[in-house]
Amino acid sequence: MAAKYDVVVVGAGNAGISAAVKAALEGKKTLLIEKHNLPGGCASSFRRGRFEFDPSVHEICDWGPDDNKGDVRLLFERNGVKMDWVTVPECYRCISKYSDGTPMDISMPTGREPFIDKMEEYVPGTREAMNKLFDLFAEMKAAVKYMNDGTPNDSKYMQTNFPNVLRTCGYPSLKVLQALKLPQKAIDILSVYWCYLGVPLDELNFLHFGNMLDMYICRKAVIPHHTSHEISMQFMERFYELGGEAWFNCRAEKFLFDGDRICGVETNMGTIECEQVLANINPDIIYAKMMPKELVPEREKKLSTARKHNYSARMCVAYFALNKSREELGIDDYTVFFPSTSDTRREYESLAHIDTNKFSILLCYNKLIPDFSPEGTCVVSFTTMYGPDDWNKITPQEYAGIKDKFAKQCIETMKEKYGVDIEPYIEEMEVSTPMTFARYLGTPEGSTYGYELSGWDGMLARMMLIPEEFPIKGLRHIGAASFRGDGYSSTWINGDMCAAMACAELKEGGNK
């Protein structure tokens, strides 16, 4: 006899745990299944020796202070997920070269005025253009709020109230920054966060990029005190409190159909019947491997062909626990970006290959959380992302060597650009490659950002077609491959929205 649920959430990544909480909150009998033995997907942790490492978190956006709450904070409050955060007081430091080849070492603060002041200091004469940019951000924030509030969008209203947004948001970010007459050096400084979305600025939609910049600068970022696993566990605690059930080490093998409607999931722990499925799995995998071929919609085949397996951000991370404090070592920043160029297109191209990729982002959690690791120690990590080609060719015998080479490159980059040599102090270390992410997340090629958010497949374009994005009855794709794209914040919001849609459909269908 099969277990029966209203809603089954497949995959306990960020979108999955958020969706599960929402469905349970709506009073639906909800089961969350996860093939790994932990919730969170990327938002997790692992132990080595006396240290606990965070596999992925850098900066979580859209939380915001009491008087300027962001969507993520509103979601946590609405759904009753408790969390104590640590605020990231600065935006970023970036040590690189400007597009004209001159050296760059900038530290950008949070807050509109401090950010503009600092920009004026680094690139004199930018105040007016920067003010315009932030005015545009403010208009954009209002427009996004209007577009997301659930009421049908009135184009007249939008034209009257958000004319600048409508005029700029169809364009790639670089074009808009240039139209604002910002000098290239200022654009170089502004472009640092491009890697959080994985698309170069000559392609990345401005609304998406601008909205992200605004959230980081004006609302400040936050991070969990005790690794991302703490966040995922807070979602789980809430889910259990609402009566939700979770099965770990439970892998969905096949989706079951009643006619053209999804009606269940086959797993290693038995068959589960349900009305609605929220699948935190890449759609290509579902259509190719988890359902009858004849039921795959034409539109999804065309979409997949058009996307050409263009998955985004195969992360590679080196984690080091050091047996000296960050003060002793001279690490005085939380996050430092080390791009090899400020030209995001050139950087994007160089990321593709192991030999050309010199990009990394340094994190030192202890800068914000002194007790992140035992006294007298600190934890740092370096993140970059790759294209698929080189990682496709590695043999098991070469693998450990490639990991070491990457770790060594990170150490060398820090030594050269930051002036700190951490190598003698490594007590524990680990390297996560695209293979590691593929192992634990099951995403195509270990990508963490879903499909690349470029051109016609950008976030805004996806959101405009939400009604068409889920053509199979009872099935919704959630996670980075869904309409909001990548990032903790986006995937939590996406999971919540999709669960709300599924629950609404249950109501309309007259189901329990």
């Binding site: 942790s45 947004v165 005029r167 995998i285 590695i394």
Partner: protein, 401 residues
């Protein structure tokens, strides 16, 4: 001044560009052919080869080590494929149906990683009067029998960026196995470091892998073995236990100490190593194993020691109620009840058995509490290193074999 930003020459066209984003997407999708969707990825296949759900292995050969009271089992992939590649020093978790129980046991791999190409790996099991699984395997496992195993696990391996180039290995009895694998890996050019093994045995005859170690030492100057005999005094051998003095005698330059051996040997060695004043990063140990006499742990409530509690295990839709003696890990009770629940290291460290405690209280010895911070706050336990202090209800994960 009102904000008036245009990107193109005519603002109205800019607006149209925004409004058309959806249309452009639609057109891009419509224009593509409706090919069959594929999802084959080399990176994912690689991850699967390195970390399969399990490996079905067949006993290919059994080698008896005579006076050393041990046997090596050479295992071969049943499907003829290469065995999952591993780092020399790692262990494999065997999943064994014994009677009504499904138990797991971690054994260090004693063969070279090179063997995986031919689908092979070896584990070496020493006779152990208290060992339930070890004695079962020694008595029952025959050539041709099938066993389910994991991939290579754990982080007890040499890491050149972290460890000193010179490694002093302290081995006791069957604790030689990870070092034998490392020595083979050095000989085979897979690893590159200087390994000096201080190998404690009772007598010369009881030395495990004497010939194998001699052969490796003859083949590479990077591996050296010093035998330390506790029960015999012989020329060419060190006598007694592995002390700080002996370590210092054979150590040169900056060195890391790696320790693997039975609990008693480990405790003695750890005390000796402490005298050397090494940085913590230069001392690494293999898994401790399950705590044997939990009632001797600080803070253990003595009145619980001999009690037997009721354990309710939920796994998916299944619910099983069984006895749970206070003096052995909760995992053992789960296994006795015939439940296939995941576990690997059995030392509290790897977290593979991580389960949700919804009712009841457990005792978790500090030294084997390898849980994540949030798990400690939110009632997630590692049953392999937890001991019942009351009736318990536990939600355990599923299994894949």
């Amino acid at each position: 001044m009102a904000l008036n930003i245009k990107v193109g020459l005519i603002g109205l066209l800019d607006m149209l560009k925004f409004a058309n984003l959806g249309k452009v997407r639609k057109q891009a999708i419509d224009a593509a052919p409706a090919n069959e969707i594929t999802a084959e990825y080399k990176i994912n296949n690689f991850a699967k080869e390195m970390h399969p759900d399990f490996q079905e292995l067949v006993v290919d050969q059994i080698i008896d080590h005579g006076d050393a009271d041990a046997r090596s089992f050479i295992l071969k992939r049943a499907d003829g494929k290469p065995a999952a590649y591993f780092r020399a020093g790692q262990y494999i978790s065997l999943k064994l149906p014994i009677g009504e129980s499904f138990v797991t046991r971690p054994y260090s791999i004693s063969s070279s990683p090179e063997w995986t190409k031919e689908g092979k790996l070896a584990v070496t099991i020493k006779k152990n009067p208290e060992g339930f699984a070890a004695d079962y395997l020694l008595a029952n496992l025959k050539v041709g029998d099938k066993v389910i195993g994991s991939e290579g696990l754990g982080s007890f391996y040499y890491e050149k960026l972290r460890d000193a180039k010179n490694v002093i290995a302290l081995a006791g009895g069957s604790g030689i196995t990870p070092f034998l694998s490392m020595a083979y890996a050095i000989r085979d050019g897979i690893e590159d470091f200087n390994l000096t093994i201080l190998f404690g045995s009772r007598t010369e005859n009881a030395v495990l892998f004497r010939k194998e170690l001699d052969d490796i030492c003859a083949a590479t100057p990077k591996v050296k073995v010093v035998h330390v005999l506790s029960d015999e005094e012989k020329p060419g051998f060190e006598h007694g236990f592995i002390t700080a003095e002996i370590i210092q005698k054979y150590a040169a330059g900056e060195y890391s100490v790696f320790i693997c051996g039975p609990e008693a040997m480990y405790r003695f060695a750890a005390g000796e190593v402490a005298k050397l004043g090494l940085d913590r990063k230069h001392v690494r140990r293999e898994l401790l194993g399950a705590t044997k006499k939990v009632w001797e742990q600080p803070g253990y409530p003595q009145d619980k020691k001999d009690q037997v509690f009721k354990l309710t295990v939920k796994q998916g839709e299944k619910e099983i109620v069984c006895d749970c003696p206070a003096n052995e890990p909760v995992l053992v009770a789960i296994e006795r009840a015939g439940i296939k629940a995941p576990s690997r290291c059995r030392s509290g460290e790897c977290g593979w058995c991580r389960s949700r405690l919804t009712e009841g209280e457990v005792f978790i010895p500090e030294e084997t509490d390898g849980r994540r911070w949030a798990d400690k706050q939110m009632n997630e336990i590692h049953p392999c290193a937890s001991f019942a202090l009351s009736d318990l209800t536990l939600i355990v994960p599923g299994e894949y074999y």
